[in-house]
């Protein structure tokens, strides 16, 4: 029993670190643009398929395919925002949020149009699970978790130490003041979209690496991604990481009492619990 729980916690930590990648993307866009961009779902799918093209058609190894997934999803993110969402942002955050649901349906169908509904898998070597101290650990999961940790370290370094990163944080913190200081909000918004959607795309591919992908890949995990961001506090990057671990571990531990099919509902319950008792989320500062 104790071993089962430990095993689930180990699985949860790995799942949580992968979940953190798109969750950071979602929350970063929220921090700068102040609306929930539901199009992260389709961008995760776009990234997963871009990585698939790079990995299977072009024969690139997984790390390069992941970078390709980031780039393609990021470019799509900036372009689709520029065309579809930016003109609507003045009409209020909810209009933009509704439009982003429409956008995600459009992009998801672009993928479906191009690749069809079939399940596809990456071309990866298969490793046998490691066993240590009675626990089973999959090398692919460890690899994914490691990638996620490196990505997070790079991102936090970028935000903390570079000038561009600091302007992003300034806009997120106080757009008016940032404007007075001469920071170009439009440029920062583009950058936030590029990074946020790029992370969503990379996350989509990481999630697909140990299963398979199809046009609904992004949509299937989106509830967990939202949950991670909301539990941590919308707009807070460290919060998104903390929330991802809560949701990741929570989803795994739920297997003790719930049918696996309900993993997705765990995120929803986590959102409700956190918002009932701590509406700002674990590390957020603003809730309503």
């Amino acid at each position: 029993m104790l071993e089962d729980v430990l095993q689930l916690i180990v699985n949860g930590v790995m799942a949580g670190s992968v979940l953190a990648v798109p969750a950071i993307g979602f929350t970063a866009i929220y921090a700068v643009l102040r609306f929930p961009n539901f199009a992260v779902a389709s961008h995760a799918t776009i990234g997963a398929f871009a990585g698939f093209v790079a990995n299977v058609y072009l024969g690139l190894p997984a790390p390069m395919a992941l970078c390709f997934a980031f780039l393609v999803a990021g470019v799509f993110g900036v372009a689709s925002d520029e065309v579809a969402l930016r003109p609507l942002r003045n009409s209020g955050p909810l209009t933009a949020a509704i439009a982003s649901v429409a956008l995600t349906i459009v992009l998801e169908n672009v993928i479906r149009f191009t690749f069809g509904n079939d399940l596809r898998g990456y071309d990866l070597p298969v490793y046998r699970d490691w066993r240590m101290l009675g626990l089973r650990i999959g090398p692919q999961q460890v690899y994914n978790a490691a990638v996620a940790v490196i990505v997070m370290a790079v991102l936090f370094g970028f935000l903390a130490f570079t000038r561009t990163g600091k302007t992003m944080r300034a806009v997120a913190d106080n757009p008016t003041l940032a404007g007075i200081k001469g920071i170009d909000a439009v440029k920062v918004a583009r950058l936030a979209n590029f990074i946020g959607m790029g992370l969503a795309g990379m996350g989509g591919m990481l999630i697909g690496l140990d299963t398979s992908i199809d046009p609904l890949t992004g949509f299937r995990v989106i509830l967990s991604v939202f949950a991670a961001a909301v539990v941590g506090g919308l707009g807070s990057l460290p919060g998104a990481v903390a929330g991802s671990f809560v949701v990741g571990i929570g989803e795994e531990l739920s297997l003790l009492v719930l049918d696996p099919a309900y993993r997705g509902a765990v995120g929803f319950v986590a959102i409700l619990l956190v918002l009932s008792f701590r509406p700002r989320g674990l590390l957020g500062e603003r809730a309503y």
């Binding site: 009409s91 649901v101 939202f226 929803f268």
Partner: protein
């Protein structure tokens, strides 16, 4: 061709009910609900289970569907009472997904992804299929007109004025002594009841309901219908639903005209165009075809 047209107008009725339900909560109350598909599903499954498994008559199943849906709406509204805007959008979207998860996985109750079939329809089997469609056309649109008329009455009644006040500024409404939470909960319940009726009618018309029918695309259809017609106006919601169906069926013929497409690509083109249309409407005519009229001043009042 005639049967096809009738079927499309019936479907427009379902979208009209979805748009009307959304209009109560979003148009009047300014409260976002992206979980429309969830309430539609609650209504559809409630009546399907009661009529197929428990053998209830259709009308009783529909009334029960409406009440159960309203209860679900009130419950969700109390849970999310303190949330606004973006958080509410996430939670309601999540609600719809949870409904779909339950419908897909509680196989003992809902038959899982296979769905429930053989749902009875009024006089189905006793009259030729063409007449059955006409009967449903009459029933669905009678319900739409009654619901729209009642809601239009409600929106001009003090209840509707308070809701609009809450939409414009919740704090002011509270200061004026209105019990904001109670109004929101009732509005949520009314909205959910309308969505539930829509789902129940759909179940009886279609004879079959499955979790696949509860995708978020359904919510997008409703938002598109309402936005195109005019948020805040009940007649706008109904007109918007008719326009939506005309546009969607237009894309069916257009997509069929493009040579060399696989069926999956045709479906993708159609869904894509629905999303694009919503973005375009929001961009070009956010007030809709029938914009909400500013309230008339009482006689003798000076502006």
């Amino acid at each position: 061709m005639e049967a096809y047209l009738i079927a499309m107008v019936v479907f427009a009725g379902f979208y009209a009910l979805l748009a009307l339900g959304l209009n109560v909560i979003w148009g009047l109350g300014g409260i976002i609900n992206l979980g429309l598909a969830g309430f539609f599903g609650v209504g559809a499954y409630a009546t399907a289970l009661l009529t197929v498994r428990a053998g209830w008559p259709i009308w009783a199943g529909m009334v029960a569907a409406m009440l159960i849906s309203a209860l679900a709406g009130a419950a969700l509204s109390l849970v999310v009472a303190r949330l606004k805007g973006d958080y509410l959008a996430i939670v309601t979207l999540g609600f719809a997904e949870v409904v779909r998860l339950i419908a897909s996985n509680e196989i003992w109750l809902t038959n899982g992804t296979d769905g429930i079939s053989n749902i009875p329809g009024p006089w189905r089997g006793q009259v030729p299929p063409g007449e059955f469609n006409l009967i449903m056309l009459g029933i669905v649109w009678a319900v739409v007109i009654v619901v729209a008329a009642l809601l239009a009455r409600l929106s001009h009644a003090p209840f509707g004025r308070v809701l609009r006040a809450i939409r414009e500024d919740e704090m002011v409404a509270a200061v004026a002594g209105k019990r904001v939470l109670a109004f929101k909960t009732i509005a949520f319940a009314i909205s959910a009841a309308v969505l539930g009726i829509g789902g129940a009618l759909y179940a009886h018309y279609n004879a079959y309901i499955a979790p696949d029918g509860l995708v978020p695309l359904l919510t997008i259809y409703a938002v598109l219908a309402l936005t195109a017609g005019g948020t805040g106006r009940m007649s706008g919601a109904v007109l918007g639903a008719l326009v939506l169906v005309a546009l969607m069926e237009g894309t069916r013929f257009l997509a069929a005209e493009i040579p060399g497409l696989l069926p999956v690509q045709v479906a993708a083109v159609r869904e894509m165009s629905v999303g694009l249309m919503l973005i375009l409407v929001l961009r070009l005519r956010p007030q809709g075809l029938l914009p909400e009229r500013p309230p008339r001043l009482a006689q003798g009042a000076t502006p």
